[in-house]
């Protein structure tokens, strides 16, 4: 290939990018679809496998009627082929949230098997911590506590070491692959989620289950795995049974020992209790005697008290006749006493006063007397003194008078002398000198003065003496008077003395009398006082006595009551003792019986098949696989069509160029190479992108959709090289293959032919024109359109085929949705009309149903007793596992409505069976055929197919109980009750109460199954949506591509009519009228094609569990038409722009 040719290729790619991209896209879409759908299941399985390996999902789960202990675990761990074994506990418990009950399942956090994957938070570090279900709890619950509600039964509560567990993290558990958490016998019957609690968080001696892990060498679900597990389970079962059996024997021995111990203990306890009771009895008797004593004592006391009362009454009567109360009398007594005392006191005081008064008087008089006496004595003394003094005075007077008389005598003598001397002198006087006469005259004057003075003195003395003599006389008189007075006083005094003495005598006598009287009265009062005190004391002591008596009475009553109580207690104790002993004896007897009755331990070995999530995952993932098998082929067919059209157009366009190149000497091969490269590179590129993108995105989208059903963390993308090679080959076939076909004609023409412009497709009259009346009626432009349509036959064919294909795809997509929708409704509303199924451990008896009717009759609308068993049906072509439903209940027809295409199918008679539609088609069984049904390897029987019935979920074989019993040679023991609830009855609460009935093993609510199926259908719908989206994209590409080619082929024509003055709308209509008509034709062809395709696809995607309906709803047809029309319209809108852009100058160009 030359450089120029390469350049040419490059140019033609860049020059017609739209065309190139169209091929690329359609191939990409096809490959993406192919790879995506093909890879989805392997990717889902790989992701799941990785997850269950990563988390070491158990291979076997062992259950035993007596649990497991460490030894059992160890024994199983040593079993051949086992890589790990771990004991675990699972316990359902109620949890209250906003007063609503939720049931959660607590699992023991195991280290080696079923390891959880943390979604958030941390692993629990201690026993009171836990991991919570990441599917049910939100991250903000981390750190919060969950509480094992106290409403849980005691056994459950005992199992948990704590009441509260702190959530440390959220986790996924491989045990819960499905988002359905399952059912429980607690609460509303539906499990809300799980929690994982470390071993320390449980308080149990035994494990409730034992998980076994073996090699990861086999792929899950593979036959190798199943085979391996089957062998392994036999070994494990044998080992586990041995270990459990040994333990059981030990347990029985222990039990016997325990019973013996218990008996001994009982005997001991009995003796002990008996002694205690006797003791009590004795004490009671003592108490009774004491009480009797007390009673006697009290009686005495009472008599005493009565005496005292009488006395007190007497006393009171004394005190206050007609007394009202003792206290009143006492008070009156006291009043009297105090009055008496007061009276006495005042009388005595008065007497004393009188006495004191008289004493005062006496003392006064005495004083007076003494004063008188003293006065008298003093007077007497004075008198005597005065007498003496007078005597003295008198003596003095007498002496004085003598002296005076002497002195007077002397004086007269001297006066005489003087007179004598004076005469002399007088005589002499004139004789004498004068000087001697003056001296003798002064001397005689002096002697005369002295004699005058002595005469005066003698005069005075004489007066004085006279006075004294008078005085003495007066005194003498006075003394005499005094003397008389004294004498009188002396008499008076003596009289007074006498009186006084009498007074004193009286006084002393009065005093003595008063004292005596006082003493007497006081003594009387004191006696009254004493008696009052006595009375008072008497009252007090009476009262005390009475109180004591009353207390005595009371305490006696108490004592008696106590005694009675004691007696009662004793009697109760006695009764209790009797009952307890009887109970204990019964218990021991029961235990003995139980031990005797104890059946050998049963061991159940469950495989992963018992894990719903694990099982349904396989089924659900198959759906995609089924879709993957057919759809991509269809896609590729359409892709091939598009490529072919596109390349044909391209080759046509390049006709002259090809001719020129050929003329220039390029080989056919090199020219062909150009086109092959063009288409091939687009296809390869598209294939690569589709492979990488689709192989990742499709599974991711579907996986995400399945996330609604399964919580499996992670996503593993797989790329299968073989698939890529297939895809690439298919792509190349579609592109290069069709290109070769397109080029073949050009390659065979001569260069000369090629250089000449290809004669335009000649106009022809079409068949329709022969129908003149119709043709004439058509508008001119419509005629043009019609003629145009048929002018390019190949294009017409391509367009119709392409659109028909897309229509078929879209219709199939919607149709699958229809087939899937309402399956649950059909199954559970129209066929199996029950809401709850109850499984019993034993055959259902009339008693049991009577009990049920009594307890829940109002809540049930209908019920039927059935036997449900699994088995296998072998028809002429294949065998299929089925559910056997056998019933003799006359109500069975109201619970199970057998019909086919709205025609009722009657319930089979004896020896006959009715099978489901799907069973019939799978096993090739026809009406009237004889088929074999087996319930076990050995129990087989042949039946005549009496009817075929519509059914959507699972496969059923219906028969009567008689048929069942006779055929399988066993007693017909129906253990399943199917019931329909009455209106407005909550099936979950009914289920919960049913599960508490006797013998009920399990209760399942149909709504749960329905939900599972609905969810499965929803996930299928996601796949359908994906198909729809791809079909839509495909339809769009086809329409766009064909429309685009149509326009580019007719650029000149369009330009011309534009020049002619067609309005843009008219121009558009001129071109698109064809497209629309072709689209309509495509749709018309596509719808029947779609119906066929749908039927084919539905047949392909049938899963074991579910029969899909071959139904497409009218709305789906409408939607399909609407979608394709919508695509047509969108394409038209886009292409109209392209038309508007067509340059009118194109019309002027020469024809190439």
């Amino acid at each position: 290939m030359t450089k120029t040719l390469k350049k040419n290729i490059r140019r033609s790619i860049t020059g017609s990018l739209g065309r190139y991209v169209a091929i690329l896209l359609i191939i990409m879409l096809g490959v993406a679809f192919l790879t995506g759908l093909r890879q989805t299941r392997p990717i889902m399985t790989a992701t799941e496998t990785d997850y269950i390996r990563r988390t070491a999902l158990y291979d076997l789960r062992l259950l035993s009627t007596i649990g497991f202990d460490e030894d059992d675990v160890a024994a199983v761990a040593k079993s051949e082929g086992v890589t790990a074994a771990e004991g675990s506990i699972n316990a359902d418990f109620l949890l209250l949230r906003d007063d609503e009950e939720f049931v959660y399942r607590a699992h023991m956090l195991t280290g080696k098997i079923n390891t959880p994957e943390l979604a958030a938070g941390n692993m629990p570090a201690s026993g009171d911590e836990c991991l919570a279900d990441a599917g049910q709890f939100s991250e903000d619950m981390i750190g919060q506590k969950i509480t094992i509600a106290e409403i849980n039964d005691a056994d459950t509560l005992d199992l948990f070491a704590y009441r509260e567990y702190t959530i440390t993290g959220l986790a996924y558990s491989p045990l819960y692959l499905s988002v359905e958490r399952g059912t429980t016998s607690l609460g509303n019957g539906s499990l809300s989620g799980f929690v994982l609690i470390p071993p320390e968080g449980f308080d149990s001696e035994y494990f409730t289950e034992l998980y076994v892990k073996c090699t990861d060498d086999f792929a899950p679900y593979s036959d190798e795995y199943d085979d391996f597990i089957e062998t392994l389970s036999d070994t494990v079962e044998a080992d586990a049974t041995l270990s459990v059996r040994t333990r059981f024997d030990d347990l029985v021995a222990d039990g016997e020992q325990e019973i013996a111990d218990a008996e001994q203990e009982l005997a001991d306890k009995e003796a002990e209790a008996k002694a205690e009771l006797d003791d009590a009895k004795r004490q009671l008797d003592d108490a009774e005697a004491e009480i009797a004593d007390g009673e006697t004592e009290l009686r005495d006391a009472k008599a005493e008290l009565d005496d005292a009362k009488r006395q007190l009454d007497d006393g009171a009567a004394q005190l206050q006749p007609g007394f009202t109360s003792w206290q009143g009398a006492l008070d009156a007594g006291w009043v009297a006493y105090y009055d008496g005392q007061n009276t006495l006191n005042s009388a005595i005081a008065e007497g004393r006063q009188q006495l004191a008064d008289s004493l005062t008087q006496l003392e006064e008089n005495e004083a007076l007397y003494k004063a008188g006496k003293a006065e008298f004595d003093a007077g007497l003394q004075q008198y005597n003194e005065y007498s003496a003094l007078w005597e003295q005075g008198y003596a003095q007077y007498s002496a004085g008078l003598e002296e005076y008389e002497q002195n007077y005598a002397a004086y007269e003598a001297g006066l005489a002398q003087y007179e004598a001397a004076l005469e002399q002198f007088n005589a002499i006087k004139d004789t004498l000198p004068p000087e001697m006469a003056a001296a003798q005259e002064a001397q005689l004057e002096e002697t005369r003065q002295t004699l005058e003075l002595t005469a005066a003195a003698l005069e005075a003395a004489k007066a004085q003496l006279d006075e004294s003599g008078a005085e003495l006389d007066a005194q003498k008189a006075q003394l005499d008077a005094t003397k008389a007075q004294l004498d009188e006083s002396e008499i008076q005094l003596s009289q007074t003395r006498t009186l006084l003495d009498v007074g004193w005598n009286d006084y002393y006598d009065g005093t003595a009398l008063l004292d005596r009287q006082q003493a007497e009265q006081q003594a009387k009062l004191d006696a009254a006082y004493a008696s009052l005190i006595e009375f008072q004391n008497g009252i007090d002591s009476y009262n005390d006595g009475l109180k004591a008596y009353n207390e005595g009475v009371e305490s006696l009553a108490d004592g008696r009551a106590e005694y009675e109580d004691g007696l009662q207690d004793y009697e109760d104790g006695r009764a209790e003792f009797d009952t307890e002993i009887a109970d204990a004896k019964e218990k021991i007897a029961d235990a003995k019986q139980e031990l005797a009755d104890l059946s050998d331990p049963e061991l159940f070995v469950l495989t992963r098949d018992a894990n719903t999530g694990y099982v349904t995952f396989e089924n659900d993932s198959q759906i995609v696989d089924r879709l993957a098998s057919f759809f991509p082929i269809f896609f590729f067919l359409i892709a091939a069509l598009v490529c072919s059209t596109t390349m044909t157009r391209m080759v046509d366009d390049d006709r002259t160029q090809i001719g020129t190149l050929r003329a220039l000497g390029y080989s056919r091969a090199s020219i062909l190479t150009k086109y092959l490269l063009y288409a091939g590179s687009a296809a390869s590129l598209g294939c690569l992108i589709g492979y990488l993108g689709g192989g990742y995105l499709f599974p991711l989208v579907i996986w995400t959709a399945y996330g609604m059903l399964y919580k499996i963390p992670g996503f593993i993308s797989l790329y299968d090289p073989v698939l890529f090679v297939i895809a690439l080959l298919a792509s190349l076939l579609c592109s290069a293959g069709t290109t070769y076909l397109a080029c073949r004609h050009e390659m065979q023409s001569t260069p000369a032919d090629l250089i000449r412009p290809k004669a335009p497709e000649p106009g022809k009259r079409i068949l329709l024109e022969r129908v003149t009346p119709l043709w004439k009626r058509l508008k001119f432009l419509h005629k043009v359109t019609l003629r145009n349509i048929f002018r390019f036959k190949k294009r017409m064919f391509m367009m119709i085929l392409g659109i028909a294909g897309c229509t078929a795809l879209v219709l199939t997509g919607f149709g699958i949705h229809d087939s899937v929708a309402n399956i649950a409704n059909f199954q559970f509303d129209d066929i199996q009309k029950y809401d709850i199924s109850v499984n019993l451990s034993d055959a259902i008896t009339d008693d049991w149903t009577g009990e049920l009717e009594e307890a829940h009759g109002a809540e049930m609308d209908a019920r039927a007793v059935t036997l449900m068993a699994s088995g296998e049906l072998t028809g002429s072509t294949a065998a299929k596992s089925v559910y056997l439903l056998a019933s003799d209940d006359s109500d069975i027809t109201s619970i199970i409505d057998l019909h086919l295409n709205k025609t009722p199918v009657s319930y089979p008679g004896d020896g006959e069976i009715v099978i489901t539609e799907k069973l019939a088609s799978i096993t090739g069984a026809r009406l009237g055929d004889t088929v074999t049904v087996s319930v076990s390897d050995t129990d087989k029987a042949a039946f005549r197919v009496a009817g075929i019935t519509e059914n959507y979920v699972y496969n059923y074989v219906y028969m009567t109980g008689k048929t069942y019993g006779r055929a399988f040679k066993q007693a017909f023991e129906p253990k399943t009750l199917l019931l329909r609830t009455a209106e407005d009855v909550d099936e979950y609460s009914l289920a919960a109460s049913l599960s508490n009935m006797d013998d009920v093993v399990s209760v399942s609510v149909v709504s749960d199954t329905r939900r599972t199926i609905d969810k499965m259908m929803i996930s299928l719908n996601y796949v359908v949506a994906l198909v729809l989206a791809c079909a839509g994209a495909l339809a769009f590409i086809v329409l766009f591509n064909l429309g685009n080619i149509n326009i580019s082929e007719r650029v000149r024509e369009i330009a011309t009519i534009k020049v002619l003055g067609f309005h843009s709308r008219e121009t558009g209509a001129y071109v698109f009228r064809e497209n629309i008509i072709l689209s309509m034709m495509g749709i018309l062809c596509g719808l029947p094609l779609g119906v066929g395709l749908h039927a084919f696809v539905v047949a392909q995607i049938q899963v074991d569990m579910i029969s899909l309906k071959y139904v497409i709803e009218p709305t789906s047809y409408l939607l399909t038409v609407f979608m394709v029309v919508l695509f047509t319209v969108i394409t038209d809108i886009i292409l109209r722009r392209k038309i508007a852009r067509i340059d009118m100058a194109e019309s002027l160009k020469s024809i190439e």
Binding site: P760, G763, F780, A1055, I1057, V1059, L1060, G1061, S1064, M1144
Partner: protein, 234 residues
């Protein structure tokens, strides 16, 4: 009173990216009603641009174009569509007949656009194709196809018949007969005919010759010595 067709300082610039092509600059000329006008120029002189503008297929950058007193240069898309529809008859170099329509239908497709059209069969008869009306283009010779093309243009009773190299794809004799048909149409029906050609020889038969050169009007000349078609040689 202005002329029937009036170009006034018309400039057309094509822009593709940074490149600016001045296809027409300052073109001014007039064509009178009923004239047979030949616009002649070398390839790339701008005559196709001129034709596009006159035919309402393209807009101009500046200047004015009046047609029968109406300024078509200011028309929007719809008005241009109507202008093409009612006022212009277009004859293509390569006839541009729609291959799957018969001759009659090819005329009808145009005729039915105008309410006042000449019946298609009549026009076809007028162009001398009365006997080939039901033939598809592929069954007609080049000249016959061009006649159909002319008939298609005339059926609309246009005001102006625009012919783009009408003889370009035809042989000498056939070309001549087509030109004769066009000239007759002009003379007989008073149709204004504008022929765009690179063939200067044709100018001899025109009433008015407009020479275009390098995007400019080189000359506008009225032909005082009109040569009949038959005598023109090239």
């Amino acid at each position: 009173m202005s002329a029937f067709v009036h170009f006034e300082d018309v400039t057309k610039i094509y822009r593709t990216g940074d490149v600016e092509v001045r296809a027409l600059s300052g073109a001014s000329f007039e064509i009178e009603k009923g004239e047979f006008c030949v616009i002649v120029g070398e390839s790339g002189a701008g005559k196709t641009t001129l034709l596009n503008i006159l035919g309402g297929m393209d807009t101009l950058t500046s200047g004015r174009v009046l047609m029968d007193g109406v300024e078509i240069s200011s028309f929007n898309r719809t008005k241009l569509e109507n202008y093409r529809r009612f006022d212009i008859g277009f004859v293509f170099q390569f006839y541009n007949l729609i291959p799957n329509l018969t001759a009659l239908e090819n005329v009808e497709i145009a005729a039915q656009l105008c309410p006042e059209h000449i019946p298609a069969d009549e026009v076809l008869r007028a162009v001398g194709l009365g006997h080939r009306m039901d033939n598809f283009p592929a069954q007609l010779s080049g000249g016959e196809q061009q006649r159909v093309s002319i008939a298609r243009a005339l059926a609309k009773k246009p005001k102006l018949l625009l012919c783009d190299e009408p003889t370009g794809a035809l042989d000498y004799e056939t070309g001549k007969s087509i030109l004769k048909l066009l000239q007759d149409t002009c003379r007989r029906d008073g149709m204004t005919v504008v022929i765009i050609t690179h063939n200067a020889a044709l100018s001899a038969m025109a009433d008015r010759i407009i020479r275009v050169k390098s995007g400019q009007i080189h000359s506008v000349r009225l032909n005082d010595h009109i040569v009949p078609v038959e005598q023109i040689e090239w």
